[in-house]
């Protein structure tokens, strides 16, 4: 079930009033919202619900063991290690087994020593990267003494809460479980912000991301040799817009749906293409993953506390693993490595030129270089194979001929980039005006957005979100 569908609209239309009806009775509300979330998750494949239940039980048992039954630091660390091994084992089996075996088999075949490896095709459960990372953050926080284990029901709601279950934001236990403690106030729903995020997300996904994908990006990345240099350039910038409008749309809708249910999620995107450095880009792009990688991986590796060289290595390792998190393929690892190199280079440059906290002397130049770096790194992210990657670069340098890019596609790319320049205050003003409208006018306004997005959806429906497959 994906958000912009009739099925989800029907599901949410039932869940929203029932959730508020049961909210004053947590003993009823929690099982209800767990059941609703499992139904949402199981609508694609009911078998995977068992995986989610298993992940919940495993981490809760381990968290309680760490908090209540381990007397020494050493025993806590051992239990944490076992818990993380279980989570990573789950992720490794479902997401990376095929990649690992394929890579080893290809390598040994090249050496002329083909190994009889156990070849299995393992289906990837949707959202597994997101909920395992949330579970890991919970258990690490418990181990660090930053958070006490929640009740089983609270933890189960936290892990399965349907607005974030499939593709984030990666919410931390202490951010969400605390909100379960007190019933939400039904007289103070941030509806204007929620509707703004949901409608904005719908428009970004359907009008910009899907339009660019079908008209420009898929044809060019699918068969680069058939396209000119200008097509490839447009597709590269178009993909930068597509992935932003696709993923941020999902995050916006998730945050908006949670708001309607009375809960706050952390922001996940903050106009990333305005960044003046790679580091700033990661402060603005998929922010909940960035902070997860920072807090549980980069700092865990020693961060910047172990000397300059080790800092560069830690940055590189963090980004390589961050790349691998996105997908079990070498192109994602290389994409992460490219960003790791960029971050390490920025750190080195900052260390040798007056401190890294300084604002850039030439902000426009810094923005331009950062934006180009990010856009061209996306080629690795989007190219299915290294052959496609090579062909794109070949066409970029040598690809003559006429462009097939239309004015409409250029305009959509510019609009996709341009929305990041809209001042925050403007959105705030819209929200106030919308909130002042009566419910009938609000309903009419919302229905207009629904009809517009529906008109843009082709006969085959809304394309799946890019981050669903991670």
């Amino acid at each position: 079930m994906i958000f912009p569908t009739l099925q989800f609209a029907a599901f949410f239309a039932v869940v929203l009033p029932l959730s508020w009806l049961l909210m004053p009775h947590p003993r009823l509300w929690k099982p209800f919202i767990i059941a609703a979330s499992y139904f949402f998750y199981g609508s694609a494949n009911p078998h995977y619900v068992f995986l989610l239940v298993g992940c919940t039980i495993w981490n809760q048992v381990m968290a309680i063991a760490i908090d209540r039954h381990c007397r020494s630091e050493r025993s806590r660390s051992i239990v944490l290690f076992i818990a993380l091994a279980g989570d990573l084992g789950l992720l490794g089996w479902f997401k990376y087994y095929g990649f690992f075996v394929d890579s080893v088999a290809a390598f040994t075949s090249r050496l002329g020593l083909p190994l009889p490896l156990p070849l299995l095709q393992v289906a990837l459960p949707i959202g597994i990267s997101f909920f395992t990372f949330q579970a890991m953050s919970y258990i690490i926080d418990v181990r660090r003494g930053q958070y006490e284990p929640a009740t089983f029901l609270d933890f189960a709601v936290y892990l399965s809460f349907f607005p974030h279950l499939i593709a984030g934001p990666i919410v931390r236990a202490r951010e969400l479980i605390g909100q379960f403690a007190t019933p939400r106030n039904p007289r103070r729903i941030e509806a204007a912000r929620a509707f703004g995020l949901i409608c904005g997300g719908l428009l970004k996904k359907v009008v910009i991301a899907d339009y660019l994908a079908t008209r420009l990006i898929d044809p060019v990345f699918g068969a680069p040799v058939l396209h000119s240099r200008w097509d490839v350039i447009a597709a590269i910038y178009g993909y930068a817009v597509q992935i932003y409008c696709d993923f941020s749309a999902y995050s916006d809708m998730a945050i908006g749906l949670a708001l309607l249910l009375g809960f706050q999620f952390p922001p996940n995107f903050d106009r990333p293409y305005l960044a003046l450095s790679i580091q700033e880009f990661w402060h603005r792009w998929h922010m909940t993953l960035s902070r997860w990688l920072r807090d549980y991986l980069y700092i865990g590796l020693g961060g910047n506390r172990k000397g300059r060289v080790r800092t560069y290595v830690n940055l590189m390792l963090t980004m390589l693993l961050g790349g691998l998190w996105h997908g079990a393929a070498w192109n994602f690892v290389l994409w992460g490595g490219m960003h790791g190199l960029g971050l390490a280079w920025e750190r080195w440059w900052g260390n040798h030129h007056g401190g890294r906290r300084q604002r850039p002397k030439h902000p426009v130049l810094s923005w331009f270089v950062t934006f180009q770096f990010v856009c061209f790194a996306w080629i690795l992210f989007r190219a299915d194979t290294m052959q496609t990657f090579g062909e794109l670069w070949h066409q970029l340098v040598f690809g003559g001929g006429q462009t097939t890019v239309t004015l409409a596609e250029v305009i959509v790319i510019l609009v996709g980039l341009g929305i990041q320049f809209i001042p925050r205050d403007l959105f705030a003003g819209w929200r106030i005006r919308f909130a002042e409208m009566g419910p009938v006018l609000q309903g009419v306004a919302l229905s207009v957005v629904l009809i517009i997005t529906s008109a843009f959806v082709s006969g085959q429906g809304v394309a799946p979100f890019i981050y669903y497959r991670f």
């Binding site: 009739l6 729903i189 699918g222 903050d270 419910p439 008109a455």
Partner: protein, 401 residues
């Protein structure tokens, strides 16, 4: 890493107002856009959700038509250049007009109740459809005929069609306009085939994938309409088609006639629909339609239907001059049966299927594309191009097959 600035203080509303606004939005949305709701329902799998969606959508559409609430959406569609869908699917209308959606008695191929594997005679240039029929007898088992297993086939085989528009040798000036179309199975195959073809010959390629569609649900997307639209849109010389990934389901005609999946009547009706689509592409200017065999799915019951689909495609191809059935199963199956991995001649093991057990992954699509390319190369005579001469520049040189 710095946290994002907190969002501006946001105004709040009471729940009653929120629910009322959402209710009004849904109601207006359904009324203004009832046709989309009906369309969405038509695309759903059989079940209560489909029934409810269709019932609500049709009721809303009736109200919307009376009150002219369909007008805004019509205007929006006109603004966006969308075509309004016909009220009755031509594919279904044709079926209704043709009372016997049964096997053509003159056809050499009969549908079978059992899964019938595809004939893969290596003497493709001289064999006839009747030879294909000889292996597709009712007594055939679900396995490949031992004398004609796909794995044993060195080259892909197209059911030969002695008639059909003449072919020409593509040149840089007059390249082969190649359209690869179908359901999501063409997602990787299309780009791979066009990429591969463009490397060996003067090819101008187009991929037109319609995810989640098939021939069993023309009420959702009618492939005969798609085929008719693709002619003037792409002007293809050759059309490569792969459809069937969503067709593991029963079919119903407007009059209520029901075809249970896997039965001979289902196969005959499916063949009729394939035939109609083939004719539409050829009528639109294509000189050849290459309809690819459906790779078997992992689920055994689906694999059975895949085999029936392949029989149906052969039946249709045998009736339509210019249309050919291309068997791509040899290198991507284990003797016609589903497999995730294949072993290359150099011993390397390759994963060729997606995790869903239906789609070919990129490596599998590449292998399938190579199979199709062999047929294209052979029939369209790709290869070293002569220097354009006044006689050949801009004018197709027919090469009759």
């Amino acid at each position: 890493m710095a946290a994002a600035p907190p969002p501006s203080p946001s105004p709040t509303s009471p729940l009653s107002k929120v629910l009322l606004a959402i209710g009004i939005a849904f109601l207006l949305g359904i009324l203004f856009d009832a046709r989309s709701m009906v369309h969405a329902g038509q695309g759903m799998s059989d079940g209560p959700a489909r029934i409810v969606t269709l019932d609500v959508g049709r009721a809303a559409l009736a109200v919307a038509k009376v009150t002219h609430l369909t007008w805004p959406r019509h205007q929006l569609d006109a603004l966006l250049g969308h075509q309004t869908a016909p009220s009755v699917s031509p594919l279904l209308a044709l079926a209704a007009a043709t009372p016997t959606a049964q096997v053509d008695p003159t056809s050499t191929i009969q549908p079978t109740a059992t899964a019938v594997a595809v004939s893969t005679s290596t003497t493709s240039e001289t064999s006839t459809a009747a030879q294909v029929a000889s292996t597709a007898s009712p007594s055939a088992t679900p396995t490949m005929a031992p004398t004609a297993t796909p794995a044993a086939t060195a080259t892909p085989v197209a059911t030969p069609t002695p008639r059909g528009p003449p072919l020409f040798q593509p040149t840089k000036v007059h390249p082969l306009r190649l359209l690869v179309t179908g359901d999501s199975l063409t997602g990787y195959l299309g780009p791979e085939l066009i990429d591969a073809a463009a490397r060996v010959g003067p090819v101008l390629g187009f991929v037109d994938t319609h995810d989640g569609t098939g021939l069993t649900r023309p009420d959702f997307v009618d492939w005969s309409v798609v085929a008719s639209e693709q002619g003037p849109k792409y002007h293809p010389d050759a059309v490569v088609v792969l459809i069937g990934g969503n067709d593991f389901q029963n079919m119903t005609l407007p009059g209520g006639k029901f075809f249970l999946a896997g039965t001979p009547a289902w196969t005959a009706e499916y063949a009729r629909r394939v035939q109609v689509c083939m004719e539409r592409w050829l009528a639109g200017g294509a000189r050849r339609v290459y309809w690819l065999s459906m790779p078997p799915a992992r689920r055994p019951d689906w694999a059975h239907d895949d085999a029936q689909i392949n029989v149906a495609i052969q039946m249709a191809a045998a009736r339509v001059p210019g249309a050919e059935y291309v068997n791509i199963l040899g290198p991507i199956t284990n003797d016609g049966k589903y497999t995730d991995f294949i072993k290359k001649p150099n011993g390397q093991v390759l994963l060729i299927r997606e995790q869903d057990g239906v789609h070919l992954n990129q490596a599998g699509s590449q292998i399938a594309a190579d199979e199709v390319l062999k047929v294209l190369e052979r029939q369209w005579h790709f290869g070293p191009q002569p220097t354009p001469t006044p006689s050949s520049t801009g004018i197709a040189t027919p090469t009759v097959h």
